[in-house]
């Protein structure tokens, strides 16, 4: 009963906010301030969403983008994790490359695209490069903070039980670092998704949600532009909730770390 009520309490403010946004949109459309070619009505945008899902344009673009994202994110999780482990293992590495990574984060990943195009050409690899460079620092930083937050008492307990060296790492330190690390993956994923959309938007060419946005703008299919934006947001939210928040919640619940 209270579960249902709390679910309802979670959902209705969001629905109300979305409803409010659509209302403002409808009013602006009605006012005639923008030409209907540049700002379609909510209904028109909805019908182009339905249309483009039915004709396969949006599903194909989504698939292409997700494949790129999966490749890029996997690489950046690998690089970021190794990077973070090295930072914890060696203070020299942390002070040198670690500080470089922190600096790198203040450079928007899309600023790498011109170089990436020169290095890899106008292709997949350039976009994936941008995704990796945009998201691996978050994974590296989360690996470091996850490991640094491991309670000393658990390490001491592990050592008195006979876990030392690699066994202490494998059985105590790494599992204890998991909650912080998963939080970092979630952040890394968000950076990866944004970098991918920026990269696809500029790169043009092969089909992806970013390209679909850009092509639709050029063809003045404004309804499709908005429909694609909605899909980008939905994918962002769904992955965040269905994958990372669920994982995070499960891990915390198992360890008794949820605020009650």
């Amino acid at each position: 009963m209270s579960l249902v009520r709390s679910a309802v309490n979670q959902v209705w403010p969001r629905l109300a906010a979305i409803g409010g946004l659509v209302l403002v949109w409808a009013l602006v459309y009605r006012s005639g301030y923008f030409n209907a070619d540049v700002l379609p009505s909510p209904a028109a945008a909805w019908s182009s969403l339905v249309h483009n899902v039915a004709n396969g344009k949006i599903p194909r673009a989504t698939q292409a983008s997700l494949v790129r994202l999966l490749i890029g994110f996997t690489i950046s999780v690998g690089i970021g994790t190794v990077f973070g482990l090295l930072e914890v293992a060696s203070s020299l590495f942390e002070r040198s490359f670690g500080s470089l990574v922190v600096g790198l984060q203040s450079l928007p990943s899309i600023a790498w695209l011109p170089l990436a195009i020169l290095w890899f050409g106008l292709n997949e690899r350039a976009v994936i490069f941008v995704v990796v460079i945009g998201s691996f620092p978050a994974v590296a930083l989360a690996t470091v903070s996850g490991l640094r937050q491991v309670p000393l008492i658990l390490q001491r307990a592990g050592r008195t039980l006979g876990a030392n060296g690699w066994r202490l790492y494998r059985h105590v330190v790494l599992p204890a670092a998991v909650p912080g690390y998963v939080g970092g993956l979630q952040q890394g994923w968000a950076f990866a998704w944004r970098s991918l959309m920026a990269g696809e938007l500029i790169l043009g060419g092969a089909l992806g949600l970013g390209q679909l946005l850009n092509n639709s703008r050029q063809n003045l299919e404004t309804g499709t532009v908005i429909a694609t934006m909605v899909v980008i947001v939905l994918i962002g939210i769904v992955v965040d909730l269905a994958v990372f928040s669920t994982l995070d919640h499960r891990i915390r619940a198992r360890r008794g770390l949820l605020a009650t």
């Binding site: 307990a157 592990g158 006979g162 059985h171 105590v172 998991v178 198992r254 360890r255 008794g256 770390l257």
Partner: protein, 276 residues
């Protein structure tokens, strides 16, 4: 019960030698402001096999520091720590330890925590479950084997930690104020359980506490440590027969006497604090 214990610990090697020998040990550390603080100095005592020794002292007297050195978690600046005549060089399950916090691994079930200790001892996988269940039974936690540590009460967590330490089959059981954070009733229950389990196991035990009653109830010998930097200033045998009851009238004079000594040491600490 005392007889049974005496039989179990009949020394095989090292006839008559102490189980643990702490010789002139000193340890200092740097505090947050960078000042060097001497935690303990010239600590010397022996523990005979099967003996239950309590290290008692005012807070900050370095009793926990001493225990960390015996555990091998830290190295002494000076002096030597010998177990069965061999120098202690690092931590190990032969000196399993109870901490003030239960220090259970939150990603493992209660059973998993015990099995982990056995795994670190290279006990074959197929034997781990039975042996872990055996130790959980000893501390009356069989029903909670599959629970996660956070689902247990404070007292149950410490019992699980005790089961985990005992599963290591340690030469010496070390305990660093394991019951200090529990409420008075739970503490008494656990003290009783520890007395029972210890008597059955015949283990040597070094137990750190600032609680005089606890020390007198549990210990064969109470070592009183001085105001910091701590050193052993009193060595009081508690010859009350076991199993003991909390209200045993023979414990009262022991408690009163040790309490008197402890108060003097605490007064020194307070006087020093007042003088700044």
């Amino acid at each position: 019960m005392r007889q049974a214990r005496a039989l179990r610990v009949a020394p095989v090697l090292d006839v008559g030698g102490p189980k643990l020998s702490v010789r002139g040990v000193a340890k200092s550390y740097r505090n947050a402001r960078g000042t060097v603080i001497s935690a303990c100095t010239d600590v010397t005592f022996d523990v005979t096999p099967g003996e239950f020794v309590c290290l008692l002292g005012p807070s900050g007297c370095g009793k926990s520091t001493c225990l960390g050195l015996i555990a091998g978690l830290d190295r002494p600046d000076l002096g030597q720590i010998l177990m069965d005549g061999r120098s202690v060089t690092g931590p190990g399950p032969d000196r399993a330890m109870l901490f003030q916090e239960p220090a259970l691994f939150p990603w493992m079930s209660v059973l998993g925590n015990i099995e982990f200790a056995l795994r670190m001892l290279d006990v074959p996988r197929e034997d781990r479950r039975d042996r872990a269940m055996h130790w959980l039974g000893k501390v009356h936690l069989s029903r909670f084997a599959s629970a996660q540590p956070h689902e247990l009460s404070g007292g149950m967590k410490q019992r699980a930690a005790l089961a985990r330490a005992l599963a290591c089959d340690p030469e010496i059981l070390l305990a660093d104020e394991p019951f200090a954070a529990l409420d008075a009733q739970t503490r008494e229950i656990l003290q009783n359980e520890l007395q029972r389990v210890w008597a059955e196991s015949g283990k040597t035990c070094v137990f750190v506490t600032h609680n005089v009653r606890e020390a007198a109830f549990l210990a064969d010998r109470v070592l009183l440590m001085s105001a910091p930097p701590g050193t052993v200033v009193e060595d009081r045998e508690v010859s009350v027969s076991r199993p003991r009851q909390f209200d045993d009238p023979r414990l009262a004079p022991v408690i009163a006497e040790i309490h008197g000594h402890l108060v003097k040491e605490v007064e020194k600490v307070v006087a020093r604090e007042i003088r700044g």
